[in-house]
């Protein structure tokens, strides 16, 4: 899966915007949106919010969790805990990136938020690597990882699968009496 595909999925998330135009309900396959009244908050998917924002037709109201205090708390928790902690949104990384890239003027303390989310992300990826490492070094067959987001799984998936395959091959070569495997490998 491509990161852009994950991002595409993230764009379905709902955010609040404050439009500066008026438009009636629009009827889409995915559901009805609107009506849009200037100055009144309305829920729309991220893709529409960004589109409107880029055309300067709305202001985006940052999601509730996109707040320095809350994120700091989350970051600290994430650092304290050994396991993965629940994230504010299943697409927190994608949303942060999208919203901060296109609507940073509507989000107070955008830079701090960017850093915090990056911190959380780094912590989680480090944990993920660590657990992958211990998973391999202890030769486990199963691992349970809760609270991982799609993007995170996606970052490690190809690498982990490939390397496991590779290691499987190497190991099967090492095992005595598995000459058959050896043969097939060559």
């Amino acid at each position: 899966m491509d990161p852009s595909e994950v991002e595409f999925l993230a764009e379905k998330e709902i955010v609040k915007i404050i439009p500066n135009f008026s438009l009636d309900k629009i009827y889409l396959i995915g559901g009805d949106l609107g009506p849009f009244n200037p100055g009144l908050q309305v829920d729309v998917p991220v893709w529409l919010a960004l589109n409107l924002k880029q055309r300067q037709k709305c202001r985006i109201v940052p999601p509730e969790w996109m707040d320095v205090d809350k994120l700091e708390e989350m970051r600290d928790l994430e650092r304290r805990e050994d396991a993965f902690t629940p994230v504010p949104s299943p697409y927190y990384m994608e949303l942060t990136k999208l919203l901060l890239n296109y609507a940073s003027d509507n989000i107070p303390k955008a830079d701090e938020i960017r850093t915090l989310v990056k911190d959380i992300w780094d912590t989680r990826i480090a944990k993920l690597r660590l657990s992958a490492d211990s998973f391999i070094s202890q030769m486990e067959a199963h691992a349970k990882l809760d609270n991982l987001t799609l993007m995170e799984i996606n970052t490690i998936r190809s690498f982990l699968l490939d390397s496991l395959n590779c290691m499987y091959k190497l190991r099967s070569n090492l095992q005595p009496g598995s000459s058959k495997g050896q043969l097939t490998d060559y």
Binding site: I18, N20, F21, S22, L23, D24, K25, I26, Y27, G34, P35, N37, P38, G39, L40, Q41, N51, L52, R55, Q56, K57, R59, V61, P108
Partner: protein
């Protein structure tokens, strides 16, 4: 006397806080773990000054204009007060100081620190320090002996010690406390307190008791305790007179003892049970302020303190007259909580009207009250033990007389002399409310909203570097945002679709000015300015459609055209409070008289300009909630006056009940906390929305962060709205109230959203039916009849069926009488109408029609429109009279007499100025191309349904709210058709046919011949459905629209073949009728097509008539199938 605990308010972020009063008692000063010291001018100060002293502030002390704080950088600093300028560092420790305190004269500061040291420093010369060493753990608190000889300290090592300051030696030490290793772990902060004055006692909080040690002998003399106090006491504080000792505990209890009698005289519990960590008495001894570890700040008001002592000590003879007078008003005072606020307010003539007005809080009673008032309270207290008296107080009252006398030995010295001359004790006049602009925040703020209305936002900045005004429009299509430098110092603003109006008060040299930025002007000069006559100040201003009004301090109202022509000037009966304009209406609220006991006496005038100027409301009193004032005034988007008072009650004008005011919403009811408010910015009747900004802990929002608008529903304060009956009644009444604007709009010549109107009528009838069914179930037949009288004839027949089916024959009979009556009425009306339309059929079944037809039709249609428009002008006058006369039998309200004011209607029908806006384009550039983008071409014309009706999705008719900001009709194609500036004709062609489909109200083309051709005839089933729909609904009221159709299908199939055939026959017959009807109309010169441009012009009126017909019939058929058919269209 019961004291009143004021509401909690947020002061600092979570963590340790401290509080004190300044020497005058005017300011409350707090510090907290956010490192700020805040200076509150009374508890209700929404904009406290703050001084940042460090990352954290651990403790503060204030005396003689010096503010001493212990901050996180291990220093004890001085700031000047109230300016807050840094004034040097007093001393340093190796770690942070935990508590600082002044001596009684304010010459020395003692500070205890976590590094086990206590320092005593001269304020004037910080080099003169005395260090007290001896504690073996962080110091918890320090306190000076009032005579400046000793210092008492408490420490985490468990000891409480007394030191001789000069000799720097420890005199005595008591092991009273539990040992801990750090202040943060200590169970109690153990704030010691030395009795002021003689300093006879040192109070030490030890767990749940307070121990008193005698000065000199250092003996434990007594213990103050209270059975109800179960948690560790954190802080103690002496009243200024030294008679009372207050203690605040970990669990949030506040207890006040009379030290002489050792009785508890007051118990209060913290609202949320947070740990009290700061406690201070007002210098007058009537108030006590406290803070907690969550950073909240609150106040106890009305503590008797020393005054009761003085009361009993003084010979009371002199005050007998006053006392008698009090008896007269005992009732008042017994109201307790209700009156508390007013009591302090109205009885304190010293209170200046100016202090509180801007914060619109009249209870700014942090100003010392007169001695008089306090004494009065004390008398009452002694005489009648009120219900709200607490336990301890009773005890005190019974056994405490002697104690009182004893205590008075200390008391009187500290008490202000009691005025002996007789004082007026009757109702006190209320200071009149100041003039304000609705939708603005107080003028003293540096960053404030000067106006927030449905058009946009005007913000004013007035700080050192910048004095500017920002104008921003909600709808960026109205105008782009503007940034103005405010060189004149404007303090008032209003904003409309056409202009920005600003006004500044007069200064010594300059007269008061009115400035208007007329941005919608088509010439190049978009600004004008006018000087008001000398000595006249602008007090309130507003903008309407094409005019601007300003009320001045000379009780004058001046009316300008929006271009700057002076048009009217007249005198107002009283000082203006505020004004609001909408369309041609001007609403003025002014002071009618002086109010008493906290009430305002306001009067209201409603004027209508335009062609026929008239006064609709002639200065009647404006009803307000008790002891409240006006906080917002305005119009709904539909043009109905409404206002909000400081209690949060929204009232709306009920035009159908002789211009009475009906409360439609109580915003405070939805608030979570007592100090939260809703700041109203707009009211909409269709859909029913109250737009407001939730303000946490204040009355108005800050400019940053940008507040978000929330929507509140309306709710009439009817009885028993928890029951089904009450709910339905509320819904019905509300619907009735909120449809008043239709008749108003139509009577004043505006276009009306016929579809929404009939929709709401239908909802009401359904509600009536439900209420009818409910009353039937409850066996309330009389009530049933009452309800039936409100129904239309059709619904009554349903009701009859329901009644007979549920075997209530008597009821059914009565109902049939009513039905007969109604039928007669209708017949009479119809006769009067010269049988203009007997069978309102024609436009049925459009939903079934195919898209291809539409597209093929639209071109013809437009040609026709062009032609007809030309013809129309000659005919429009007679046309309009005729069509106005028609009454829609399906919509009761349409039957309300329409004023036969021929000319205005005809005029408006053609050149209604609002229309242009409605079409969504600035009038200056009619041909402006719209941004072509998917979204824009997706001008889905479906209108948001009115809140209630799931079936109401079909789009709104050609409504135009007179001043609705760029009415949403922007995209309803019908509007374009109705307004038809020639330039837009072309655009219409490009509209996808689906749009057309989605708005069945878009009247079909005019030509009768074409009309009948295109008209897909009704099928027999549809006819049958039409007849029987109501009965199906009556049988199964909870069915969805689609289910109804299904059910109907089933029933239709069960009919015998003959019956079905007869229906089909009837359907065929009707087709003929429709054609006939068309012809007849044409013959009368009316021309058929409404929106498409009736041949005879007067499109609107025709449109109404047509829409009546259409909507009444069509809605039924359309609802279920409109979605499907829309889909089918899109495929084409």
């Amino acid at each position: 006397m019961p004291c009143e605990r004021k509401q909690l308010r947020y002061g600092h972020s979570e963590g340790h806080t401290e509080v004190c009063f300044d020497d005058s008692g005017r300011f409350i000063v707090t510090c907290g773990s956010d490192g700020d010291v805040r200076i509150w001018e009374g508890l209700d100060d929404d904009d406290p000054k703050f001084i940042t002293v460090g990352e954290k502030a651990y403790s503060l002390a204030l005396k003689k204009g010096k503010l001493v704080t212990a901050s996180s950088n291990n220093t004890v600093q001085i700031h000047t007060f109230p300016d807050g300028d840094p004034d040097g560092i007093l001393t340093r420790f190796t770690t942070n100081a935990t508590h600082v305190t002044f001596n009684s004269r304010g010459t020395r500061v003692a500070a205890g620190s976590s590094d086990f040291m206590v320092k005593v420093v001269e304020v004037s010369d910080s080099s003169q320090q005395k260090t007290l060493r001896g504690h073996e753990a962080p110091v918890l608190s320090v306190t000076f002996d009032p005579k400046d000889e000793y210092l008492a300290t408490a420490s985490c090592d468990g000891s409480v010690a007394v030191w001789n300051i000069e000799e720097q030696t420890q005199l005595i030490s008591w092991p009273l406390l539990q040992k801990t290793n750090d202040v943060s772990n200590a169970k109690s902060l153990c704030r010691l307190a030395w009795q002021p004055g003689a300093g006879k006692f040192l109070a030490v909080p030890v767990e749940t008791k307070v121990q008193l040690y005698e000065r000199g002998s250092w003996e434990h003399v007594s213990t103050l305790s209270d059975d109800l106090l179960t948690q560790t006491i954190n802080v103690v504080s002496w009243s200024p007179c030294g008679t009372f000792l207050a203690a605040g505990s970990v669990g949030g209890s506040l207890t006040v003892w009379n030290v002489d009698s050792k009785l508890c005289v007051e118990r209060q519990k913290h609202e949320k049970g947070f740990t009290v960590c700061g406690l201070a008495w007002h210098p007058s001894g009537t108030q006590m302020v406290f803070t907690d570890t969550e950073g909240c700040l609150s106040l106890l008001d009305g503590l008797k303190s020393s005054s009761s002592n003085s009361e009993s000590a003084q010979p009371t003879a002199a005050k007998m007259p006053a006392k008698d007078y009090n008896d007269l008003f005992d009732d008042d005072d017994d109201d307790g909580g209700l009156m508390d606020e007013g009591l302090s307010d109205t009885n304190s003539p010293v209170k200046k009207p100016t202090t509180g007005e801007d914060d619109d809080d009249d209870d700014d009673v942090l100003m010392p009250l007169t001695g008089r008032v306090r004494n009065r309270g004390a008398i009452l207290d002694d005489e009648n033990s009120q219900g709200s008296l607490r336990l301890g107080l009773d005890k005190f009252g019974d056994g405490g007389d002697d104690g009182d006398d004893a205590g008075s030995a200390v008391g009187p010295a500290a008490v202000p002399a009691v005025p002996l001359r007789p004082v007026y004790e009757g109702p006190m006049p209320t200071p009149p409310q100041k003039a304000f602009q609705p939708g603005s925040t107080p003028a003293h703020l540096t960053h404030r909203f000067m106006m927030w209305n449905s058009v946009g936002i005007v913000r004013g900045y007035n700080d050192e570097q910048d004095n500017a005004i920002d104008v921003e429009f909600h709808d960026s299509a109205v105008h782009h945002a503007m940034h103005l430098t405010n060189s004149l110092g404007h303090i008032m603003a209003d904003l409309s679709q056409e202009a920005v109006l600003l006004a500044c008060p007069s200064t010594d040299e300059l007269a008061s000015k009115l400035q208007c930025l007329h941005f919608s002007s088509w010439d190049t000069n978009k600004e004008w300015m006018v000087d008001l006559p000398h000595g006249e100040d602008a007090r309130a201003l507003c903008l309407g459609q094409g005019w601007a009004a300003v009320a001045t301090s000379a009780l004058m109202l001046r009316l300008f055209s929006v271009g700057g022509v002076q048009k009217e000037v007249f005198s107002l009966p009283g000082g203006v409070v505020c004004m609001s304009g909408h369309g041609e209406q001007l609403l003025i609220v002014y002071h009618r008289a002086t109010g008493f006991d906290g009430e305002q006496a306001l009067g209201v005038q409603l004027l209508q300009f335009g062609r026929r100027k008239k006064q609709l409301i002639h200065g009647e009193p404006l009803p307000l909630s008790q002891r409240s004032h006006l906080s917002w005034l305005g119009f709904t988007a539909e043009g109905t006056p409404c206002y909000v008072d400081s209690e949060g009650v929204v009232r709306m004008l009920n035009r159908s009940l002789g211009n009475t005011w009906t409360p439609v919403c109580h915003t405070r009811e939805t608030c979570k906390s007592k100090s939260d408010h809703y700041w109203v910015v707009g009211v909409h009747e269709n859909p029913q929305q109250l737009r407001c900004i939730p303000c946490k802990g204040s009355r108005y929002p800050p400019t940053l962060p940008r507040p978000a608008v929330a929507i509140l529903p309306f709710k009439l304060p009817l009885c028993q709205t928890s029951t089904e009956k009450g709910q339905m009644e509320e819904q019905f009444l509300r619907s009735l109230l909120f449809h008043n604007h239709y008749s108003f709009l139509s009577s004043s010549g505006y276009e009306v959203d016929e579809d929404a109107q009939s929709q709401s009528e239908k909802e009401r009838q359904e509600l009536l039916m439900k209420m009818f069914a409910l009353s039937c179930k409850l066996e309330r037949e009389f009530r049933c009849v009452e309800l039936a009288e409100m129904m239309t004839q059709n619904v009554v027949t349903l009701a009859i069926r329901y009644a007979s089916r549920s075997r209530r024959i008597a009821l059914a009979q009565r109902l049939s009488e009513i039905a007969l009556e109604k039928a007669n009425q209708i017949q009479e009306e119809e006769e009067e109408e010269e049988q203009q339309y007997s069978t309102p059929t024609s436009r049925y079944g459009q939903s079934e029609s195919s898209g291809g037809r539409y597209s093929s039709r639209s071109n013809q249609e437009q040609e026709e429109e062009l032609r007809e428009e030309e013809e129309g002008q000659e005919l429009e006058s007679e046309e309009s009279t005729e069509t106005r006369g028609r009454v829609n039998p399906f919509a009761k309200e349409a039957g309300s007499p329409v004023k036969p004011s021929l000319t205005p209607i005809a005029k408006l029908g053609r050149s209604n100025p609002f229309k242009v806006q409605g079409s969504g384009k600035p009038s200056s550039s009619p041909g402006q191309p719209r941004v072509t983008n998917i979204l824009d071409s997706m001008t889905a014309s479906k209108k948001s349904a009115s809140l209630g009706g799931p079936a109401g999705k079909q789009g709104k008719g050609p409504v135009l709210k007179p001043l609705a900001p760029r009415p949403k009709t922007q995209k309803t194609q019908s509007t374009l058709q109705m307004t038809k500036p020639a330039g837009k004709r072309t655009q219409e062609n490009t509209e996808p046919p689906a749009d057309r489909q989605k708005q069945p109200e878009a009247p079909p083309p005019a030509s009768p011949a074409e009309n009948t051709e295109n008209q897909r005839p009704k099928t027999g089933f549809q006819l049958w459905l039409e007849e029987n729909r109501k009965s199906i609904i009556a049988d199964q009221p909870d069915l969805e629209e689609t289910d109804v159709i299904k059910e109907a299908m089933g029933r239709f199939r069960t009919l015998s073949a003959e019956e079905r055939l007869s229906w089909t026959e009837r359907a065929k017959g009707q087709r003929g009728d429709a054609a006939d009807l068309k012809k007849r109309k044409r013959a009368e010169g009316g021309g058929g097509g409404g929106g498409a441009g009736g041949e005879g012009g007067g499109e609107n009126e025709n449109g109404h008539a047509e829409a009546d017909e259409n909507s009444a019939k069509k809605k039924k058929a359309l609802d279920p199938s409109s979605k499907l058919s829309a889909f089918a269209f899109n495929k084409n």
